[in-house]
């Protein structure tokens, strides 16, 4: 077992004929991912990378069994593509696109809430179960099948975490993305790792801003028994320029790295203060 995806996962690619879609679909196929169809409005009926291309997701669903879709369409049209996938009731939607206007994501989040779909991203590397299935833009070669589950808000930090845990390998790595409004959050991923028999240790990589790490800490206290190693990026970041008060008012001065570290430590999480500490901590737990 693994989390969310495995060797049988059948994948659709929305935005397959664009340059990014083309490149990463090829990479995915090379890795062995079961990408079975693509969508590009206006190019229906053609084939691309030997895969059938359709105008709409609904047409795809009439001809294929789809478990997951990956979205590479440009930012201006990405929210629309997510909603099309939700309408088609695709269980897992992975949106790689970065730069989606935040207000486009508000209706997406509203509609997801009452849907049967899960969203990973946007603005994320995607999800990989090494040697079985890779959905997204992560470099497949650095991964190795193993027993460390990784969840991260940042793209490259996921890769560093993978590198740091190369001794043990990974069950599944999920990049949830750093956009203000995104789909799966730490809590959902921790829940899945907790119940995944292939995962023995969880690495959780957070960032300053928002309160997702604090909420995760609260959740961990009651609902996660597996050991967790956590690093929070941004301890050294300056408060940053800002003109308005509203952000500070709503967060009430919360969301600093120190707040997050404290909350996680209270929940029994093994925190590390530099990236370089991730590997050590995992090794110690699995020793």
């Amino acid at each position: 077992m693994s989390v969310l995806i495995d060797e049988y996962t059948q994948i659709l690619c929305q935005g397959i004929t664009g340059s990014v879609g083309t490149f990463h679909t090829q990479q995915g196929l090379d890795y062995g991912s079961k990408i079975v169809a693509g969508v590009t409005p206006g190019k229906g009926g053609s084939t691309h990378l030997d895969l059938p291309v359709y105008n709409t997701v609904s047409e795809v669903m009439q001809n294929h069994e789809i478990d997951a879709t990956v979205i590479y369409v440009p930012a201006a049209f990405a929210a629309d593509a997510i909603l099309e996938a939700v309408e088609a009731e695709i269980p897992l939607i992975v949106c790689i696109t970065e730069g989606i206007p935040v207000q486009d994501m508000i209706p997406v989040s509203d509609i997801l809430e009452t849907s049967a779909s899960l969203l990973i991203g946007p603005n994320c590397p995607g999800i990989i179960t090494p040697d079985q299935c890779k959905i997204g833009i992560m470099p497949g070669a650095i991964h190795k099948a193993g027993n460390v589950g990784i969840v991260s808000r940042s793209g490259t930090l996921t890769y560093v975490a993978v590198d740091q845990t190369k001794q043990h390998g990974q069950s599944t790595c999920i990049g949830i993305g750093g956009d203000p409004i995104h789909g799966l959050d730490f809590i959902e991923c921790l829940t899945m790792f907790e119940h995944d028999q292939d995962t023995d240790v969880i690495v959780m990589v957070g960032e300053i801003g928002g309160t997702a790490e604090e909420e995760a800490a609260e959740f961990i206290q009651t609902a996660v028994n597996k050991p967790i190693v956590s690093y929070i990026a941004g301890a050294s970041a300056p408060p940053g320029k800002r003109m308005g008060h509203a952000g500070a008012i709503i967060s009430g001065g919360k969301g600093t790295a120190e707040d997050k570290y404290k909350a996680l430590e209270n929940a029994g999480v093994h925190t590390v203060r530099t990236l370089a500490g991730i590997g050590e901590a995992v090794n110690k737990i699995l020793a």
Partner: protein, 389 residues
């Protein structure tokens, strides 16, 4: 993207939200002509810069006569304003807002923003508006009312009632407050704003509500569909290096330290700063060249750091993903050929083909030291910059 107070107020006016009578004086306008149009009334001259704390910094001046008005305009225009929210250089004053003073009875705060946690637009209000609102939020959070506005319903009566609960508004004021909130919300949606604040929203002597100051921020990712908003951009208010970075689509923030950082990915860039600080150094910048970077972008990054005189050494930290480290290594060597860099450069390459990359760099260029590990890299960069700052 931030805009000036006078631009915010024009937008509010377009959305039928009451603002004080005012005129805008732009650098190059004739002071004589401008002042000639005003009577002997009192006016406030407000420096238009992208920073708060203008009042205490001398950027907001009162005048009572034409002569005074002339003098104050002359005094502010073309200078730089340093406030607690700017750096030591300050921001250039190229526009002045000359505004009719209002008689303030009370100051209210009213704001709208996109809230991460609820994934909704949130409205915030407080009877304790004015410059101390952040302090109020921290020390007396019970004095701040907030409510989420579902996009499916838009602003409803209950949102207005909930926010106004502790504002002590009479019936006419509540009606005006509701109107202002609905119009602010319409503006928020129409313009892809990420923040709209009216602070203070005052109760004037005549008992009516008036937006005395306004701050707005717009989603950069949505500017492509808001040409008019995008045209309000004032690049004179931005750090020149940051501006140049943006033109090259590099994510750069100027900091106070001496170690320049070139990193791929925002998370890794922050983590690299953390690492430098953790080992006793001070980063000169945050610089993200993009998750899947190219050799070309690394070159642009070098060019950017050359302009920053406080940089003493450069730490290049690249995690090779889709782009292989050997390609990046070649790119770094080429970049050093092309630029006039004379600073020591510490390079850490990890991920795809990291070993080959390191091999390529070894002994090829006197400025470059290739390292194998994060902490090693950070420490060496600090050392090359001349030790702990």
């Amino acid at each position: 993207m931030y805009i000036h107070e006078y631009q915010s107020k024009r937008l509010l006016h377009t959305y039928e939200i009451p603002v004080p009578r005012s005129e805008v004086f732009t650098q190059g306008d004739s002071i004589e002509k401008f002042v000639a149009n005003f009577g002997g009334e009192s006016w406030i001259v407000k420096a238009q810069v992208h920073a708060g704390g203008r009042g205490k910094a001398g950027g907001i001046l009162w005048t009572h006569t034409k002569e005074e008005l002339k003098q104050q305009i002359d005094k502010l225009m073309g200078t730089r304003l340093v406030t607690k929210q700017t750096d030591a250089v300050g921001l250039p004053i190229q526009t002045l807002l000359v505004e009719k003073p209002a008689n303030i009875k009370r100051e209210i705060y009213l704001g709208l923003l996109v809230d991460r946690a609820s994934k909704k637009i949130t409205a915030i209000a407080s009877a304790e508006g004015g410059i101390n609102i952040e302090e109020v939020a921290e020390t007396s959070p019970e004095k701040i009312a907030s409510v989420n506005i579902h996009k499916t319903s838009g602003v409803q009566g209950y949102h207005c009632r909930l926010l106004a609960q502790d504002l002590n508004l009479n019936k006419a004021q509540f009606k005006q407050f509701s109107h202002i909130l609905r119009q602010m919300y319409a503006l928020f949606l129409d313009s892809d704003a990420s923040l709209i604040e009216i602070n203070p929203l005052i109760v004037a002597e005549d008992e009516s509500l008036l937006a005395l100051d306004a701050k707005m921020n717009f989603d950069d990712n949505a500017l492509f569909r808001h040409k008019k908003i995008a045209s309000l951009k004032d690049t004179s208010q931005e750090n020149p290096i940051e501006l140049k970075a943006k033109q090259h689509d590099l994510n750069y923030v100027k900091l106070d330290g001496s170690i320049g950082c070139i990193v791929n990915g925002a998370g890794l860039a922050m983590a690299t700063m953390d690492l430098i600080k953790h080992n006793g150094g001070e980063p000169a910048n945050f610089l993200d060249v993009g998750g899947n970077t190219t050799a070309q972008r690394v070159t642009q990054a070098f060019n950017l750091l050359i302009d920053d005189e406080s940089v003493r050494s450069i730490f290049v930290n690249i995690f090779g993903g889709i782009v292989r480290c050997d390609v990046i290594a070649e790119g770094i060597l080429q970049a050093l050929e092309e630029t006039e860099l004379t600073l020591p450069v510490v390079v850490l390459l990890q991920g795809t083909n990291a070993e080959q990359g390191k091999e390529i760099l070894k002994g090829k260029h006197q400025l470059i030291t290739a390292v194998s590990e994060l902490t090693e890299g950070a420490k060496l960069a600090i050392e090359k910059a001349g030790g702990q700052s």
